[in-house]
Symmetry: C2
Amino acid sequence: MTIEEALTSAASRTWIERGGTPATPGTGRLRPLGLREVTLRDGFWHQRQQTNRARSFAHIEHWLERAGWLGNFSAPPQERRGREFSDTEVYKFLEAMAWEYGRTRDPGVERRHRAIVARVIAAQQPDGYLNTNFGRPGQQPRYSDLEWGHELYSFGHLIQAGVAAARTFGENELVAAVIRAADHVCDVFGPGGIASVCGHAEIEPALVELYRVTGNRRYLEQARLFIDRRGHRTLADIEFGRSYFQDDVPLREATSLRGHAVRAVYLASGAVDVAVETGDTELLAAVARQWRHAVARRTYLTGGIGSRHQDEAFGDDFFLPPDRAYSETCAGVGSVMLAWRLLLAQGNPRYADLIERVLFNVIATSPADDGTRFFYANTLHQRVLGTEPSADTQVPRAASTLRAPWFEVSCCPTNLARTFASLAAYVATTDDDGVQIHQYTAAGIDTTLPDGRAIGLEIETDYPVSGRIGIRITRSPDTPWTLSLRVPDWATGATLDGLAITRGLVRTRRHFTAGETLVLDLPVRPRFVSADERIDAVRGQAALVRGPVVYCLESVDIPRDVPLEDLRLDPRIEPADRDGHVLAAFRATKPTSHDWPYQPLSASPEVGSPMRIALRPYHRWARRGPSTMRVWMPLTFER
Amino acid sequence: MTIEEALTSAASRTWIERGGTPATPGTGRLRPLGLREVTLRDGFWHQRQQTNRARSFAHIEHWLERAGWLGNFSAPPQERRGREFSDTEVYKFLEAMAWEYGRTRDPGVERRHRAIVARVIAAQQPDGYLNTNFGRPGQQPRYSDLEWGHELYSFGHLIQAGVAAARTFGENELVAAVIRAADHVCDVFGPGGIASVCGHAEIEPALVELYRVTGNRRYLEQARLFIDRRGHRTLADIEFGRSYFQDDVPLREATSLRGHAVRAVYLASGAVDVAVETGDTELLAAVARQWRHAVARRTYLTGGIGSRHQDEAFGDDFFLPPDRAYSETCAGVGSVMLAWRLLLAQGNPRYADLIERVLFNVIATSPADDGTRFFYANTLHQRVLGTEPSADTQVPRAASTLRAPWFEVSCCPTNLARTFASLAAYVATTDDDGVQIHQYTAAGIDTTLPDGRAIGLEIETDYPVSGRIGIRITRSPDTPWTLSLRVPDWATGATLDGLAITRGLVRTRRHFTAGETLVLDLPVRPRFVSADERIDAVRGQAALVRGPVVYCLESVDIPRDVPLEDLRLDPRIEPADRDGHVLAAFRATKPTSHDWPYQPLSASPEVGSPMRIALRPYHRWARRGPSTMRVWMPLTFER
């Protein structure tokens, strides 16, 4: 089958009909649904999806123009603006628009997409090369800086945009350009070509996805080559070490995700894609092992990853200080990409547990309610009041302590945009015998099993406000099928139709009748958690979690005369659930200030009588003006 | 008086005779001694001074040649090597040699000094400009990058080298070149010139010191101008913010030392110098206030400063994680410079307390015993085994976890070299009525009070091994005078000749007789300390300190089958002093590993029976091969 045939095949047409979806593995335990097979209803995530379309899209396009990153595609080389990877923000925005079109068929989105595509592809060279920062007179030569140039990274995002376009609009100008670009990459980096990799992974999952769309194994082979080359130290040793771009140890041998967090999860996503398409069970097992290690030892309570500002990297095991936690928004996006691929491949509900944590505590935290400001990093402890950057300011990377409209490196806004537009994809999957629900949010599901049986479901819930989730059957075949529901790992005491169920994937196989409703009850009552003893930075502290949502203590909620750092949580007093917040008991202590802050070890400081203070979801923090905040709260000594 | 007259004046000749000294304020509570007035005897610091001369000097010169940084002074512009500030390593080495010559009159040192000076000054331009990185064909123009170019910083170190030469060798070629350079700086940055400052402070103290040597007020006025300009945002806003180079808030208004730690203490040193020479009590009070704030809230137990790797900067108050503590060696050097200037100005023994902490726990920690490897950063918690860089490798900045021979930014080796060579300066001072001893180490002191009375003392001690310090009078006038001894702030229970004394400066005014000995006893018994409650990162942990020396737990000292992170310190069992180490009681706990490291808050984990483990001085860590290490030790829960 030629590429042209593949792009117009029945399979391709089916994906277009279903609204497209990110990641369509050829094999695996579970199959993804299209963006038109799952429709979010009014609720937590639907609101964010609406704001994304209504506000963030215009905001992003405004800034792409204003910063000149869109203009770069037609500007002469000496007028090029922005960092070396700024093209990718345009590509991620194109990807976001494609998913948005897939789910809504909004002709306005199609028009904007087409207009931007025209500007982008005009810059493509005859040999398929496309990058506004390299290769033209006065610029660095192509591929002269694999460590930092981000050229293959940029191609990766370009290809992802093309894949999204192929799955939603169908064959078009962008798809054709992307195929030329991918062929160029294979020509230059294929066997006998430059035997190296890019300092920032991304081309790997992109090429596998393009293979899935086009059927051209050359792209898969090239991705496999990149995966196999990685870790063999073809890139230079840099200040941060080769682990920064995962070129220190081959993928099959590594024990953990490591180095720059976004690079790490993008690379691991590509490795899963290659493993799945080539039947490489060893590689798949290696990535799954590294994921388990990183989740157990290198992940914040919020699901965030990346402890270090300096290199935006994972730290050593258990190095997870809440102070200046980096927890980059984009690393959250990549972490969802990776866990989703592992979930599709292996079916283990733990992957969906992590996706849920990241969605509610990283992805939901970053954007302002109006969708035009963003956290780049998501700290778990804010010691001083931040200042609100003006709506007119492009701020440096993660320097702003409050949500900012745009960044010099502005990867988060577009990464969030493509995630919100494709959010429905993560709700449910199918296998040969039924439907699996992974994420709970009000949604309608309308799909067909591979054998042609049509199934319709309506998820009715205000989760995570309450843990009550109704699954109403709206369409069901006459034959038995299996409905599988994820019971999150925190949900001790969950019930299904009143019967106790255990954590994991709970399968119900029987005849279902349209109109009937199953009721899943997840106990979202607030609970205190503590961290593994080896996470020294939060020793003697506890956090409050309610369902999947991490809570925090924010200065705007405490009496004005009590400094936030003087409060001690009294865990002997049960937290009380209120409307939108949780009341917990605190006692105030008075730290003695000395000229020198280290004094002989002595008895506990005095603590006052208990007072009730509201804790609120972490993802709601810094929405009522500047505040200080902490997720981990020191405990009273008498526990 | 002309500069020539000043350089050959009686005052100048006296300093040369006394061996020179860093910082000679014109007024102040205390007066510094020359490097030939205090002679270190065999002991802790004398050994380091000897190794500095015998090993580090050759090591530094070897690497300066090898890295090309010395060659830069004669190389054509296109062959220049190293970072933009690499000239300064040559200057700091020249300064170190000058102090070494001052104290020893070693003709070998003089020859090397002369040889390097000849190469350096050959590169000076006719107008006095000297920098191998700017202004020549193919290079950036002069002063085109004040934020990052380090040009005035480089002039600062050049001038410091010249000042040291003037005070030890006397008038010479380097001194003349430095005067030309300083005049150039004043011409370009003086009234009507470029109205800005350098991204890295250093020119400020250098110009005041040159004023002290030459009597030319133009240099003092220029320093004052730089101090007054700083904080008015003439430098661009950078990713790290203007606080990085202290250009965010004027010096008189700031509440704390902040931003890049080395920049902060160099700048504050210059501000003290300006304040002292211009009688600016407001400025002096402002710096002293900022110092107090930083010591109480932004300083590690070791005296180290700078919590953050990313920008080598102070963090917010109480942000002092031991993990990846930056605590740069050079910030320790600068911190000694600052505290020393404040001590001379105000006489408060607390400044000497801090100097002692920094000397024993930062300055002593950095170099290997053979003086040819160095810690760039001085972490307080090492979680994984580091790898020993080969003796042949120039490593990136602070990336190495073990001591390394040379760095791409190699500021520490030369900064240590000039500090060790001039270490005797910090031992004692005089005022009109006597001698003040600030640091305890075996040493002979031979000095003359301003009124001509000669005083000789011999400090006899193996401090800090023991706290017994004999002060033998070797020469005394017939009139009464005052001997002042610093009693460190940790020394509860100190005695002088058997009588209880309080902490601070203990003054004894009487007739002294040559041959008599006063015995100061400082209780150096090991003691556990805990941190201010607001330093969250070490909550529930304690450290062991003995005298001024911070101790640590190192993996090489614990049973092989017990991971260091599983040990809990039992503070109810008194630590026992042994020869060179301290035995403390630990219990092993077994952390339960979960797939997800955050679990419901529960009772304390089980801890085993107590075992005695040796703690050793922190400055001795990583001298027995790679190890994991911690200064702050988690406590058993039952305390």
